[in-house]
Symmetry: C2
């Protein structure tokens, strides 16, 4: 836990806006690592608020976001990407002096600039992207260990004070994350390749298979299952992500289309050296990824 | 266990040629389900033979394939796809009257026709493709439960006697597999889509990422790991598979390229209804796959 010189916790009160899989996991993880912190939540739906009232980590449930952020040292917005900047706008006036607002959205550039513009002068916004999650969504899949050993981006703008960035970095590190600070623009380029492109390939492969004989699905092996698992993710959430990061994704798609086109030519022309080369490069890259918690 | 009317086991002696991950898993699974069967093996490398001598399920180890198949009721060839028909040619004369030869290769059409042509009149070949395995290869990763609940194709030719097909179907079912008989040509079409295409996408994605900043690999989340796991498979084995099933794979690649091109256009032109549609179709297909043993 990070303390002020007088031993007071920097983030005594934390407010989670829109606790779904990620927001509720943040709440559970904070309760585990820093049990003295008070956690407030706001949920748009009445049924989620009722669920939240039953959760041990949840100290106060609010029906208005404006109320929920009052007195909060840290506000974490966990709603879908396109709703984050509008939410910042809504809570801006109600933030206490020196409050820090962050989020868990999968895209950063557009969002961070809009959120920053919506912030009042007396509080700070710095974007976060904890790369944890699942193809599942919803409070009921929350997991207090979701963030352990996972990568997390924190994306300050040039004008973000260093101490603000540092406090948010420390917050995610306390939950066990491996944090990297980076500009929102570089973040969006990286995730276009390592997260959004793989999602598009999984979805596109499934959409192509959907058109073939429906009996074929009974023959799906572990390879197809793993390759396509993320295609089960929420189309609504993913449409927003693709919309927010459209330009970077188009560039990543071009790179991929070049590669697959090159591969297809090699196969069509029986250029077996080229085919082997691509397989070797692919294996080399995959083997170089450090093992995942679930692979160990 | 399948018995003759006089209660004698149809497959008293089984010979596994080239016990790697799959062959050794067959041996272990047979020893578990039908402990009275004798299992002989032949391995090309001396070091594998030494390893095999230490394995409980392995009753005899041979340094010549011709010797190993003598007296066998069932021969299972587990070597890479391009070596299967040549091995059939080599053992043909040494097979006993009525012996059945099968394999575990990932492609079937070319292989089954070549293997059939190499067989003597007094024995039978029918192809198999147990869809089990791993991105790992080698005896040391063998697992007696590898075949449990997994799909398996058995691919008779029109001239294959029904009783031969039936005995091979029964053999895989006894190891817990869900067996489907199908022509070698249809098999190759199906696996081009559900197995070879996903492998190519995983390899191609990795090959494309290999060209980007090498630090990006530290940010790989579970999505990228799952999507690309199979790219760690042996490039040598996969080059052979692609070679043997080249035409069907080219057709599958065309279907995929159409789909991704369609997606790219929709994203480029901000046709969000189309983008959502593709994500929905992809999710619908993925959700319709019955849960895998490892997903339960």
């Amino acid at each position: 836990m990070h303390l002020y010189p007088d031993n007071r916790d920097v983030f005594e009160q934390i407010t989670v806006l829109a606790p779904g899989l990620l927001g509720a996991s943040v709440g559970m993880a904070v309760a585990k690592h820093s049990p003295s912190r008070k956690i407030h939540v706001w949920a748009r739906r009445a049924e989620t608020r009722v669920q939240c009232e039953l959760l041990e980590w949840c100290h106060a449930v609010h029906s208005a976001a404006e109320e929920a952020v009052k007195g909060a040292d840290l506000v974490i917005i966990c709603s879908p990407v396109e709703t984050i900047a509008p939410l910042v706008e809504r809570i801006a006036e109600h933030l206490k002096e020196g409050a820090i607002v962050t989020d868990v959205g999968s895209t950063k550039s557009l969002l961070c600039h809009n959120a920053k513009a919506a912030m009042p002068a007396h509080a700070f916004f710095v974007g976060s992207h904890p790369m944890a999650g699942s193809e599942k969504s919803g409070l009921e899949y929350a997991d207090r260990d979701l963030f352990k050993q996972r990568p997390c981006f924190v994306t300050p703008l040039p004008e973000t004070p260093e101490t603000v960035t540092e406090q948010v970095v420390r917050f995610w590190m306390e939950l066990g994350m491996q944090v990297c600070t980076i500009s929102p623009e570089t973040h969006d380029e990286i995730v276009a390749y390592i997260s959004h492109l793989p999602h598009i390939l999984a979805s596109t492969l499934c959409a192509a298979l959907q058109k073939k004989d429906s009996k074929w699905r009974h023959f799906a092996g572990a390879g197809l299952r793993d390759t396509t698992r993320i295609a089960s993710g929420s189309p609504i959430l993913w449409k927003s992500i693709l919309e927010q990061n459209r330009e970077e994704i188009l560039r990543a798609l071009d790179t991929f289309e070049d590669e697959i086109h090159h591969f297809r030519s090699a196969l069509a022309n029986r250029e077996w050296f080229e085919v082997s080369n691509l397989l070797e490069h692919g294996k080399h890259y995959r083997d170089s990824l450090s093992p995942d918690a679930t692979e160990q």
